[in-house]
Subunit: 371 residues, 2 copies
């Protein structure tokens, strides 16, 4: 089904921004980033933005390749973790671009996890009213999820991702070998988004994951490369039809009604995003059996696959009332009920539906919430 | 030719953003802003952003009309003058939007001069990845120039307008009666941009200005309404063809090579923008006679019209070297020469052309620069 070391490349076209994103999945591709960037950009200067730890590991390889391709490079480090998404770091990036002499036709390269892409992508979206950028995601979550779709953002004290822009990268370079140094827990959490894509929009991907769960769970580079490529292509098909979060794209929010609420209710210091989404998917599947005609057998397949990746079955004890409050703040809940993306069958999601609060409450309690 | 009190309305369509801007010029229109906004937006909440002085004068009328149209309004004041375009005030606006509970389908209304539109428009462009906004420009410069085209931006220590977005307003409401309280000098400076539009792209507008110079210079509301409407329509024709600053839109930079350099060389504490552009246009016309075949008679017509509006003939004494340095920083000049938009005849501009430095130097000295 997959051959290790294989390179895959395809294009995502977005209607709204009249832009193309070229996606390349290449084990070892980091060392050839310069050629990839040169095909996509006539820039003279490149600002390479990375979080401190990632940049220390990968920036030298990246800068060498970019320099060989004729780019004048400037490296700009940002802090690790979500705090990099504060407005002050956006302003610092803009100042860095100014100091680097980055012009309208120049390029930003973001290397790191989703946080770095969100921040550097937003800085690129707004520098001189928009310059091109290339994403080089180095976590599985960023490689399969946040690296495409064009959403960039920073956080404000009032909430996450409140300020941002739709600004798809001209290119995304995924090097699955960067996952070798990714902590096991983070890799498993990233797999939750692959499972989500299969369950919500791609039955064949779901079946492939069931077959290859062993090598995927073991973190074999070739297997991960295929999982990433299939996941990105499925996401691309959706995003191309619906660049904003309105129509078909809502399918990709499967598991996220509870996932987001759980993260927020634990002040983002609880489960990892993928872990919270895993609990969210299990709960959405339970509600799907009850309200959308999902077969109990299909629900069990989802649970079994998540188990293979050692993703949590239950949430840490969290008050139901706090979860409801977070869903309300997220505009997912009101007096009438809570909006959930349900799956009538594997590979198919419905548009978000209002589920009565009492059914949601029961499902949350079943998932480990406290009454 | 014009009837005082007449209302004019038209639509600008921009290719890139697949967006329409509805432009309405209506004396006294401020008191009917709510109806205009309601036609363009289904928002529940509106954040009304104005600079302190302008907001004090106009916000009550505006808020009353918006409330009558069923909007829940929140007023957010920003400081007067260019310093409002600092990153800290962008962040303050975002926080204000959060406090006002402004959602994706809600609306920002910016009331004031170009600075307020630039700042509030950029905040709207980036709030939740883009919400609609309506501009209510209250200076002549903003009414004829910065209110359309979709450019929004803030300043950084490294330079003006370095961070921003293309985000056209869904509507622009121009109430020429707001100009009654505008200082005479600011009104005359605003007329420089009207003259520019005539000279660069609309010979009929230029001829109209020559005929009606008396009532325009006197600030008669009806005359100004017509000048604004004709100027905006001419600009709209250009912007629709070229949303970024590449092709035909460069014509609108007539007078701005020197205009921008002069403002920067005097650290933005010298001539007003329109005054600097007036000197810039006179110099560009002199170069156009020399290099682009403009007739000496046409140059005299431009000078005479600018004289009617008491716009300056010469710049304050400014070192030629400093002007060249500013043009270089603005990417208008290099070792080979300086890029100018010239006018072969009234109403027609050429694409920017490289003019030899010695010719530019002579023209600058003639315009009052110091050797």
């Amino acid at each position: 089904v997959y051959s290790p070391g294989v390179t895959d490349e395809f294009t995502i076209r977005t209607r709204r921004a009249a832009r193309e994103s070229r996606i390349r999945i290449e084990p070892g591709g980091l060392a050839r980033a310069g050629e990839f960037a040169r095909r996509l950009s006539g820039a003279r200067r490149v600002a390479v933005v990375g979080d401190a730890a990632v940049a220390r590991r990968y920036a030298p390889t990246l800068l060498r390749s970019l320099s060989r391709a004729g780019f004048e490079c400037e490296r700009i480090d940002v802090p690790q973790g979500e705090r990099a998404k504060q407005p002050a770091h956006l302003v610092r990036l803009w100042s860095g671009f100014a100091a680097a002499g980055l012009g309208r036709a120049d390029l930003v390269v973001a290397v790191g996890g989703g946080v770095t892409g969100d921040l550097a992508g937003f800085a690129a979206a707004t520098w001189m009213r928009g310059v091109d950028w290339i994403g080089v995601p180095t976590t599985l979550l960023a490689q399969v999820d946040s690296s495409i779709g064009g959403k960039t953002a920073i956080d404000l004290p009032a909430g996450k991702n409140l300020a941002g822009a739709y600004h798809p990268p001209v290119g995304v370079l995924v090097d699955p070998e960067t996952l070798r140094t990714l902590p096991d827990r983070q890799r498993r959490a990233g797999l939750a988004e692959v499972v989500k894509t299969g369950m919500a929009v791609d039955a064949a991907l779901f079946a492939w994951l069931e077959r290859e769960a062993g090598s995927v769970a073991a973190g074999e580079t070739g297997a991960l490369a295929v999982a990433i490529a299939r996941s990105l292509k499925a996401k691309a098909r959706i995003v191309q039809r619906d660049e904003r979060d309105s129509g078909p794209r809502t399918a990709l929010n499967f598991g996220h009604t509870l996932g987001h609420a759980l993260e927020a209710a634990r002040s983002y210091r609880g489960p990892l995003h993928g872990e919270a989404v895993a609990v969210g998917m299990r709960t959405a599947a339970a509600l799907s059996v009850r309200c959308a005609g999902l077969s109990p057998n299909a629900r069990e397949r989802l649970d079994a696959l998540l188990d293979r990746f050692r993703l949590p079955r239950r949430m840490p004890p969290t008050p139901v009332a706090r979860l409801f409050a977070c869903m309300e703040r997220d505009k997912k809940a009101d007096a009438h009920g809570v909006r959930w993306v349900l799956t009538p069958r594997v590979g198919h999601a419905s548009v978000p539906r209002l589920i009565p609060r009492r059914l949601v409450r029961a499902a949350l309690l079943e998932a480990g919430a406290r009454g």
